[in-house]
C-alpha cells in the first residue's frame, strides 16, 4: 500500500485505523507515511476508509489557517478526505502479507482461500474431525499484534517434533518446505502478517500434550497465540471428553463455534420453489 503525497493532507485519520499501527504523520514531510516493515498489506486503510475527493491544496490551506486559531479541520473519523491511498503492485515474497491479512483476497500464493480451512464448520459433511479426535487451530498474531513466519516456524517445528501431522489444505502447511520438520520457506520467514492459523489433528488423548507444547513455544515468540479446539459431540449433542481436559489445564471456555449438524451431502434443490422476492421493507 502507498499513500500519494500529492493527495494526502495529513489529517491523521488513517493513523488510527491501521490495525498494525504502521501509519504515522512524518513531521518533516507533513504527510501520512507507512512503515513498510510493519505494514501487513491488510488493506484496512484502503478498503475500510470511506473515500472522498476534497481538493488537497484547498484542504491544506484551510487546515493551516484554522490551526492559527487553534481550530481543527476534522473529517469524519472513518474517511480519507482526499482518496490518498493507492494499492501497490506486490511482488513475491511481500505478496504473502496480503494473502494472509486481507480477508477479501483468495490466497494467490497458496491457492487456498482464507487464513485457515473450514475446520469443524463443515464437519457434519466432511467428518474432518471424527469421534475420538481433536482438531487444533493455533492462531498467531491476534489481536492487533501480527506475526512473522519465523514465529509460525517456531510453532510448526515444535509440533512436528511431537510427530503431529498438519492439515494439508491449510495455507501455512502449503508454505512448508518439509512437513516432517515443520520448516517454512526461508524467503518468507521475515514477512509479517495480520494473523494465520496452523491446523493439526490429534487423538483426544494427546490434547494436554499439545496444549503444553503450545504454551512452551508461546514463551519464545513475540506475538500472541490463541487456540481453538474442535471436537465432535456425542449422539445426544454433548461433549464430555475434551472439556474436562481443558478444565484440568486451567481453561474455562466461554465462547465456541457450534456446528449444529444440518449439513447434508446433497443440498436441497430450490429450483422448484418460487424465489422469495426481496422485500423493500427488508432493511434495518
Amino acid at each position: 500500500m502507498k499513500i500519494n503525497p500529492k493527495k494526502c493532507v495529513a489529517c491523521g485519520n488513517c493513523t488510527y485505523v491501521c490495525p498494525m499501527g504502521a501509519i504515522y504523520i512524518d513531521p518533516v514531510l507533513q504527510r501520512a507515511t507507512i512503515n513498510r516493515d510493519e505494514c501487513v498489506e491488510c488493506y484496512a486503510c484502503y478498503n475500510g476508509l470511506s473515500k472522498e475527493v476534497l481538493p488537497p491544496a484547498t484542504v491544506r490551506f484551510v487546515r493551516r489557517t484554522l490551526a492559527n486559531f487553534r481550530v481543527r479541520f476534522e473529517p469524519e473519523p472513518d474517511v480519507c478526505p482526499t482518496t490518498a491511498f493507492e494499492p501497490d503492485k506486490l511482488e513475491w515474497p511481500r505478496v504473502v502479507r496480503r494473502a494472509f491479512s486481507d480477508p477479501r483476497v483468495p490466497h494467490e500464493s497458496t491457492g487456498v482461500s482464507g487464513r485457515g480451512t473450514e475446520e469443524v464448520k463443515t464437519n457434519d459433511v466432511t467428518d474432518r474431525v471424527s469421534v475420538g479426535e481433536v482438531g487444533f487451530t493455533i492462531e498467531l498474531g491476534r489481536p492487533g499484534i501480527g506475526a512473522r513466519f519465523r514465529d509460525f516456524q517456531e510453532m510448526s517445528r515444535a509440533l512436528a517434533k511431537a510427530g503431529v501431522s498438519f492439515e494439508k489444505n491449510n495455507p501455512i502447511s502449503t508454505l512448508m518446505t518439509n512437513v516432517e520438520t515443520g520448516d517454512i520457506r526461508e524467503d518468507i520467514l521475515n514477512e509479517k502478517v495480520m494473523s494465520a492459523i496452523i491446523e493439526i489433528k490429534v487423538p483426544v488423548a494427546r490434547t494436554e500434550e499439545i496444549v503444553r507444547i503450545i504454551w512452551e513455544v508461546e514463551k519464545r515468540i513475540p506475538t500472541q497465540v490463541v487456540i481453538g479446539v474442535g471436537v465432535r459431540c456425542d449422539a445426544d449433542g454433548e461433549e464430555t471428553l475434551v472439556a474436562p481436559i481443558l478444565e484440568k489445564l486451567g481453561y474455562n471456555p466461554q465462547r465456541a463455534k457450534t456446528n449444529i449438524g444440518l449439513g447434508r451431502k446433497v443440498i436441497r434443490d430450490l429450483t422448484a420453489t418460487a424465489a422469495t422476492p426481496v422485500k423493500e421493507s427488508v432493511s434495518a
Binding site: 478498503n47 472513518d78 464448520k121 489481536p143 497465540v225 457450534t258
Partner: protein
C-alpha cells in the same frame, strides 16, 4: 477461518451476540452436491425476516459499508445506514453468509426455522457456549461439533483496554484496529458521537458484516458512563 470465534469477553457479555452462519463444504473430497448459492440466498432471506442486527456476505461485505463520494460536497452528506437489501441482492458466490442477532428470541426462532427448512448447508452458531446450547435445545437439534475458543492468553480481565479489545475482536480478521476502537470510545465519552453512531462507524471496517453494532453500542454506553 476463526473470524467469529475468538471474540473477547466473558460468557455474559455475549448475551446479545449470536452469529448464525451457513457455508457449503467446498472440498471435492467432501462430495457435497447441489446449488449452494440458491440455498444460501434462502438462508439469508429467512434471516432477514428475524430482525438481525447485521447480515454479512464474506465476499461482498455487510449491511454497513464504506462509501465513496465522487463529489466534493459528499463530505457533508448523510452517512449510509444498514442496508440488508444490498447484502441479499449482492450475493453472487457461495461462501460464508452470516446473520448476527442481538437477542435470544430472534436467534432461537431463526435456528428453529432453518432446521425446518432443511437446506443441507452446514450451519454454525458462534456465541457463548450456553447460548448455542440453548438454541439447539429449543430447536431440538443435538450439537454435531464444537470448536472451543481458549481465549487470549495474556489479556487479563481487569486490563484497562479490555473494552477496546472487546470491540476490536468483533472483527476476527483484525480489520478493526484497537487504536480506532479507543478513538471511538473517546468520541463517545466526549459526547462527539452517540454509542450507536460510533458502533456504526466501526462496523464499516468489518468486511464480513459480522460486527455486532448492538453489542458494540452497549459496550460504548458502558464506556460513556464509566462502567469497567
Amino acid at each position: 477461518m476463526t473470524n467469529t470465534l475468538h471474540r473477547y469477553g466473558k460468557s455474559e457479555t455475549f448475551v446479545d451476540d449470536y452469529i448464525v452462519f451457513s457455508l457449503p463444504a467446498k472440498s471435492k473430497a467432501a462430495g457435497q452436491t447441489g446449488d449452494a448459492l440458491a440455498a444460501q440466498k434462502r438462508f439469508m432471506q429467512i434471516a432477514a425476516e428475524y430482525k438481525p442486527a447485521s447480515l454479512g456476505d464474506a465476499l461482498h461485505g455487510g449491511s454497513l459499508r464504506p462509501t465513496r463520494s465522487k463529489s466534493i460536497f459528499g463530505h457533508w452528506g448523510k452517512r449510509n445506514k444498514p442496508n440488508f437489501k444490498k447484502v441479499l441482492e449482492g450475493m453472487s458466490k457461495a461462501g460464508t453468509m452470516a446473520a448476527v442477532f442481538d437477542n435470544r428470541a430472534n436467534a432461537e426462532a431463526f435456528v428453529k426455522r432453518i432446521k425446518e427448512e432443511d437446506l443441507g448447508l452446514s450451519v454454525n452458531i458462534s456465541s457463548s457456549i450456553e447460548n448455542a446450547k440453548n438454541a439447539c435445545k429449543n430447536a431440538g437439534i443435538p450439537r454435531h461439533s464444537i470448536a472451543y475458543s481458549l481465549g487470549f492468553e495474556d489479556v487479563g480481565d481487569n486490563l484497562p483496554g479490555k473494552q477496546a479489545i472487546m470491540l476490536s475482536t468483533m472483527c476476527g480478521h483484525g480489520m478493526l484496529s484497537i487504536n480506532f476502537a479507543q478513538k471511538m470510545m473517546s468520541f463517545v465519552k466526549e459526547n462527539r458521537r452517540t454509542p450507536k453512531e460510533a458502533a456504526e462507524t466501526m462496523a464499516r471496517f468489518c468486511s464480513c458484516g459480522i460486527f455486532n453494532t448492538t453489542r458494540a453500542a452497549r459496550i460504548l454506553e458502558d464506556v460513556r458512563i464509566g462502567v469497567k
